[in-house]
Symmetry: C2
Subunit: 332 residues, 2 copies
Amino acid sequence: MGPRAIVRQLLAGRSREPGPPAAAWAPANLALCKYWGKRDARLNLPVTASLSISLGPLGTNTEVRAAPDARDDVSLNDRRLSPADPFCQRLSAFLDLFRPRGLGFRIATANTMPTGAGVASSASGFAALTLALNDFFGWELDRRRLSILARLGSGSACRSLYDGFVLWRTGRRPDGLDSVAVPLAARWPDLRVGLVLVTAAPKPVSSRAAMAHTVRTAVAYRAWPARAAADLRALRRAIAARDFARFGAVAESNALAMHGLLLDARPPALYWQPGTVAAIRRVWALRADGVPVYLTIDAGPNVKLLFPAAASRAIRRAFPAVQIVAPFAGLT
Amino acid sequence: MGPRAIVRQLLAGRSREPGPPAAAWAPANLALCKYWGKRDARLNLPVTASLSISLGPLGTNTEVRAAPDARDDVSLNDRRLSPADPFCQRLSAFLDLFRPRGLGFRIATANTMPTGAGVASSASGFAALTLALNDFFGWELDRRRLSILARLGSGSACRSLYDGFVLWRTGRRPDGLDSVAVPLAARWPDLRVGLVLVTAAPKPVSSRAAMAHTVRTAVAYRAWPARAAADLRALRRAIAARDFARFGAVAESNALAMHGLLLDARPPALYWQPGTVAAIRRVWALRADGVPVYLTIDAGPNVKLLFPAAASRAIRRAFPAVQIVAPFAGLT
């Protein structure tokens, strides 16, 4: 079953008439238990469940309107992109799933995280676009269903439909209609996320390609699903108990284990730069000095820190350029 | 069964009378398919077979004689060590296995690799000591049996009893009498090993402790034995065919997979420093430029290079401080 059939099913009986311009916002999200490996690459269905935290004010604003002609017209951060741009092509392919015959979309999308902030914009981007399309067409879909549509654009986008902690369920159905994102009720206002930038590799490997390569070639991947499931359970327990040390330790070891998988792939894959190891060691040194701080690393060289608000001063001292986010600020 | 019972069995009917001073030499060795994980910690029996290359002129010279009194007296690189020194204690514990009542040993041991060359001296050290003891007591054991004794001091020491490529067989017996090192006949005079030093961590974790921690806590370790066996087969085929690219690729991915296992442990373990990643990236950049060079990394921050002699100039240009070893120089 392909994405078109899923869309047909979800939108059955719903409006497909374009309306007035519509805009939406979605936060970026940081995986604490990583999404690594697809069981279906066309539907972006994951091998394991994952858990993220949405990054409050960092995310994407997207506006959708009908274009004057039949061609898509995409601007990113107020800069109009060439239709040949890979980002445009990926967006247009997603829009094709919903496109009434002859309609071009004018998409204006802007990220509130600085470019190169080390936070992926594809998750918040596809989430915001999906929300805007829901308004634009008047679908009136609930978030659960919207999370399925957003996932078709980018797997982790389904987690960007909510604030706070978000669980992306693996699901069992081949059509993925049960592989949805759901918010966790827990609020943890004291929690902080720090973004530490490390000079990027000149030729990064897409996480999509690295994921497929790992699943195909890493012998250790066989042990990953059980480990990810155990990490997820431990994280949920730690969140429920507001046990920061446990929470941080599980998130950190889950992330490093994912990078361990990459080293097990053939040929090995490495997202780290020298500065990545320097940041890891600095975090470990801080912790040895009694500062409660843990780290996580996505498919890139940057390091993200997890710490309680009270550690902010120590964190700023050790990482003067850190950008600190309060994921629960303003949430009720 | 403990080490004493093994020694009793191997030395049954042999001389245990100290003779005149005896000296021996053993080369250091570099594992191309790593030894990681013990199935018996007292006998240093490995979970998997491993394959190494001996490092020609880098190794250990050891002299053994009777001490004037009943106490052991150890000097390392012409410096007398305190009996409380951990190195002394480890040596004395090993010597206890062979000690006639009331005998103290005077051990003078010297390494030909500079201290901090990034090459472990315990393998060549215990191998040279075992060879010297064989002479000192007049045991007249063959190298196969000596490799068993050396292993009781340090697992990888069994591989330092030979030059060139050496295979350490896993063995199946609980007493480890079939877990022996054997030399491979293949000679590869064109092969070079480059030692690249990276500033070491202030508090390194012993490989012994890290190995035990990995086996106990890394879920991915379950997949390691099968992977190590496949790597070993591939390495042996590549050596037989003198297929350098295959040889290098397998050694490199085996080493990085071992470091991947460390990241999978809980808590994760990391031997790397920023300079480690810088060296990895430099090797990969060289290779992308057409220089045939691969890397391996042991339980430490340093990087070892594998390349054919013709690449030496390019390697020196990229790593001005590299120390280059010709493992087969002078071997017939």
